[in-house]
Amino acid sequence: MVIYGIALLGICTLIGLMLGALLGSLFGIDANVGGIGIAMFLLMFFSSSLNTRFKIGNISEKGITFWSMIYIPIVVAMAAKQNVIGALDGGLMALIAGIIVVAVSFIFIPIITNFKKR
């Protein structure tokens, strides 16, 4: 049943976010420490081929893949609710700082990615 897939996704997400909140409070910071990452690990564990005891049925699977496919529309909605004015109103310094950081970080992506090959 499709709800099994959605529920499994929900369980992974909630456990991940709870552990992330717990880690955050252990470190004494007001942020979720890797909750999404933990949730992704959990879901990968349940769906990996290593895990033969746990089988997700074809239809249940659709409850997960639907959310995976609706991801881009959600990102579009997220973009539509950004404070774009706030970013542009921050003045020249905020603009310059943002541009430099992004430009330099992009340059480092191939460098770090290929680091070990050399």
């Binding site: 890797g34 990102v75 404070n83 770090i112």
Partner: protein, 252 residues
């Protein structure tokens, strides 16, 4: 008109589905008609959405883009962190442990390197603009890490509210630039495999920027970038107000 508007407002999430659906449709139309598919439809959809958010901000004076318009308030739910996180986790379905393991070291390295690099560059810009107290410099540097780390650091160090606002603005600029520039430069920087996606997530860190940037490049890469990005803000909140602030204090 009022009765129709009431229907749209009362069913705001459904209105949001329609709004996003139309935006994506227009974006793919532009992509095929004017760029022959070279510029990806989802990248155009994200840019259109940012444009709408800008116009809505002018019109409403709000901070939540089109979600400040009553009939589009559902965008706040659809594009909010709850459903975004849910969908990001879902993208991990089918991702491979082996890919994560083989690029794990590069991912973790890029995470710490990315936070420190962003902080240092932001701090240098702050100094260039004439700030010379460690609290302001660190808060602005924190803002270029992400717009969450900025205010967290600023309030921990007791920075003034205009400095905190500045740090949030710097973080917003970063996030929006990552969303829009990533699909343009993806080829040049080799962003086409799980490993570079993990490095990308670790270096950029902004959740929304990484999520949108990778979505427009290749949705299959989303889980890898999101995996490192999810730790980025936490690492920032951890080391910026402590270690990095201490180091800034040695210079100023």
């Amino acid at each position: 008109m009022d009765i129709f508007q009431e229907v749209l407002v009362n069913n705001n999430l459904i209105t949001a589905f329609v709004f996003v659906g139309l935006t994506v449709y227009i974006a793919y139309f532009i992509s095929h008609k004017f760029t022959e598919g070279r510029f990806h439809g989802s990248a155009i959809a994200i840019i259109l959405a940012l444009l709408f958010a800008y116009l809505a901000g002018l019109f409403t004076d709000g901070e939540k883009g089109v979600a400040d318009i009553a009939i589009l308030s559902g965008i706040g739910i659809l594009g909010g962190s709850m459903l975004r996180d849910f969908a990001i986790v879902a993208t991990a379905y089918g991702a491979k442990f082996s890919d994560l393991k083989s690029s794990g070291v590069a991912g973790v390295f890029s995470l710490f390197f990315g936070v420190i690099l962003s902080f240092v560059l932001g701090a240098i810009v702050a100094v260039g603009f004439g700030y010379n107290d460690p609290v302001s410099i660190s808060t602005i540097g924190a803002g270029t890490v992400t717009f969450v780390v900025g205010p967290v650091t600023g309030s921990a160090l007791g920075a003034s509210s205009d400095i905190i606002a500045l740090s949030i603005a710097a973080g917003l600029v970063k996030s929006i630039l990552v969303m829009t520039v990533t699909p343009i430069v993806a080829k040049q920087i080799g962003l086409d495999n799980p490993k570079s996606a993990m490095v990308f997530g670790g270096l950029m860190g902004t959740n929304s920027g990484v999520a949108a940037g990778l979505a427009a490049v290749d949705p299959k890469l989303v889980p890898y970038g999101a995996m490192t990005a999810t730790f980025y803000t936490a690492v920032g909140c951890l080391i910026v107000p402590s270690l990095l602030f201490f180091l800034v204090g040695l210079f100023f």
